[in-house]
Amino acid sequence: MPKPFTRLSAIAAPIMRSNIDTDVVIRIERLVGTSVRGTLGKWAFGSLRYLPDGSENPEFILNREPYRQAEILITGPNFGCGSSREGAVWSLQELGIRAIIGSGFGDIFFANCFQNGILPIVVDKAIVDGLAAEVESTQGAGRVSVDLEEQTITSPSGQRHSFEIDPRRRAGLLKGLDEVALTLQRDAEICAFQAADRMARPWIHFAGKSA
């Protein structure tokens, strides 16, 4: 069950390159196995965080103070595009990330965030760029605040920006709801749909029988 998210005031790290894909967030070989959760934080952004010899890349933002403590990412356009691997979100979660602010995200990554109590926030690119610039002007010390109840972001200098969010997603995050349990409460509706659909579209429901 995801951890509830209400509000957060934290160090924010701008990672502004566009099209950072989920392969870059977490390499596939880190996800091959049945019990990878809990092992992924150190491999998040591996190709950016580590040099070929395995040592830390001092240039990469998450290897620098105070960004090592970041709980918010400020991201370039189309962050999280590509593979559906939820391990990308798990690795960010294990890294301590609770919210991601960008002008757009990969659709599947975006959905995966909510499943794990991470709040992805879509705002205009100008706001994203402004936040990143402000954070950088404070060498990362300026905290960014996110309030999900009020649907606002507050920049280090106190500029407030409101953001839109699907009310269902918002409620789910605020309460840390378990979607599986919620849907199972509607199982009678699912079964009724299937009973009618078996008559209407038998080719869907009895496919195995003809094989």
């Binding site: 502004m16 390159r17 566009s18 099209n19 894909d21 392969d23 870059v24 390499r27 596939i28 070989e29 996800l31 091959v32 196995g33 049945t34 190709s47 070929p52 370039g76 356009p77 189309n78 595009c81 590509g82 593979s83 559906s84 691997r85 939820e86 391990g87 979100v89 757009g104 995200f105 990969g106 659709d107 599947i108 959905a111 995966n112 499943q115 794990n116 699907d166 009310p167 269902r168 979607e179 599986v180 849907t183 199972l184 509607r186 199982d187 509706e189 699912i190 749909f193 299937q194 659909d197 579209r201 038998p202 080719w203 869907i204 429901h205 009895f206 496919a207 195995g208 003809s210 094989a211």
Partner: protein, 469 residues
């Protein structure tokens, strides 16, 4: 009362609504849930941990593809890969889920076997824990990739909560020029609209080039939808679709077939349907495409050039292009043709079907892979492998110096340890040229099977049009 025409998406979507959740969000029925070795057993174990049964095992199908070795006898499957395979066997068997195991007809890349077995049907809602599930849209299905949590949700409920996407129609108009394939059309589109151009949309591909295109090409087109940001891509079913499906192992038969086909004929978008965005591509202007960078949007015609960052005014774009050129080890402004290659990979859910192998074989026939190049052919499924062998394609490839492998995802994403070595350059028929996708620091150029074969022979990125017979 005005009655607006409906899109293919709207028709399929509405047929699957179990309950409205909010204005734009519905609880949808899932008709087919496909599992693979990387996430399948994890999802089933997750369900077990919650003490929940699989809601509809008869609508769930599994095959190993991601983590198994493509070497003969599957030698080289890693310990964890083997554990995932065993896990899939044990957990699907315990839940009563059909699994197509290695060496059996039916095994293969999950997006190749769905259509091949007649599991993927027009009007069908298909999900799988893999972003290239959009492939199945080539048959007129509503198909999309999901994450692990959604996968568990589908196993437990056979349903999924989804927000209705916006709609985009892409019309490919005109006739394909010589050497141009479905892969080239979709890469050109991604170059045109960008890697986020389809984010938030379901894309319907239409136009004369799509109508003229065989089904396997349509699957390739829909496969790359996610690379333009759209998690759903689809093509209206037509007579070609029905002809392709009829007689397949899980396809409806007899009287049920007639009922199904009648229902499918109602699915295409109405002539007055309105889309949120329309794009028209003149196919006749498209030549064979090849990517130069680290996103599928970094694509040029094979006669094109690596961009020159100095000519780009916007600093963010310039920096992005510099990063890509640096990673790829290319020279700004250099022609892409003639770039020496180390590896050629022909395979993946994008381009591993029989027609893809035939197209590559046509170029390879009677020629030799250039010295110093390793070239692999990895068929998409056990059935494709057997059909190709029956046609003698395996021998043709091996005579030309290609390696003929066992079906699976292999080097497309390197989950099974089959990688392009650091710093080496690959021409690949797969779908992603991301940083490290084919292995740490591997450099990937995406192209069609014909262009990949031509590049293997030439030892460098080649213009297939100069090698056609």
């Amino acid at each position: 009362m005005e009655k607006r025409g409906r899109t293919l998406l709207a028709k399929i979507w509405d047929q699957h609504v179990i309950a409205h959740v909010s204005d734009d969000t519905d609880l949808l029925h899932v008709d087919r849930h496909l599992l693979h070795d990387l996430g399948g057993s994890r999802g089933l174990l997750d369900l077990k941990g919650r003490n929940l049964p699989v809601h509809n095992p008869e609508l769930t199908f599994a095959t190993p593809d991601h983590a198994i070795s493509s070497a003969r006898g599957r030698a080289g499957t890693s310990k964890t890969g083997q554990e995932l395979l065993e896990g899939l066997r044990v957990e699907t068997s315990a839940s009563g889920i059909a699994m197509f195991d290695i060496d059996e007809p039916g095994q293969g890349i999950v997006h190749v076997i769905g259509p091949e077995l007649g599991l993927s049907l027009p009007g069908c809602l298909i999900v799988c824990g893999d972003s290239h599930t959009c492939t199945h849209g080539g048959l007129g299905a509503l198909a999309f990739g999901i994450g692990s949590s959604e996968l568990t949700h589908v196993l437990a409920t056979q349903a999924l909560i989804q927000r209705r996407p916006k709609t985009m129609r892409v019309k490919f108009e005109g006739r394909l020029s010589s050497g141009v394939t479905a892969k080239d059309l979709i890469l050109a589109l991604i170059g045109h609209v960008g890697a986020a151009g389809g984010t938030g949309y379901a894309v319907e591909y239409a136009g004369s080039a799509i109508r003229d295109m065989p089904i396997e090409g349509r699957l390739t087109i829909c496969n790359l939808s996610i690379e333009l940001g759209a998690k759903m891509g689809m093509i209206a079913p037509d007579e070609k679709t029905y002809e392709y499906i009829r007689g397949r192992r899980y396809a409806p038969q007899g009287e049920i077939w007639q009922r199904a086909a009648d229902a499918w004929r109602q699915l295409p978008s109405d002539p007055d349907a309105v889309f949120d965005r329309e794009v028209v591509i003149d196919v006749e202007t498209i030549i064979p495409q090849v990517t130069w960078g680290i996103s599928p949007e970094h694509v040029v015609g094979v006669d094109g050039y690596v961009p020159d960052p100095a000519a780009i005014a916007d600093p963010a774009r310039r920096a992005a292009i510099e990063t890509a050129i640096d990673y790829m080890g290319l020279k700004p402004g250099a022609p892409i043709i003639g770039t020496p290659v180390d590896w050629v990979f022909i395979g993946s859910c994008t381009n591993s079907r029989l027609s893809d192998l035939r197209a590559a074989a046509e170029i390879a026939r009677g020629r030799k892979v250039a010295p110093g190049v390793r070239a692999w052919v990895v068929p998409g499924s056990e059935t494709i492998k057997r059909d190709a062998v029956a046609e003698g394609l395996d021998k043709l490839f091996t005579d030309a110096g290609f390696e003929w492998r066992e079906p699976g995802c292999s080097m497309c994403l390197a989950a099974n340890g089959e990688i392009v070595a650091p710093g080496q350059r690959s021409v690949s028929t797969s779908n992603r040229n991301f940083i490290g996708r084919q292995g740490p620091r591997a450099r990937t150029h995406l192209a069609s099977p014909a262009t990949a074969a031509a590049s293997a022979i030439s030892g460098a990125i080649a213009d297939v049009r100069t090698m056609e017979r």
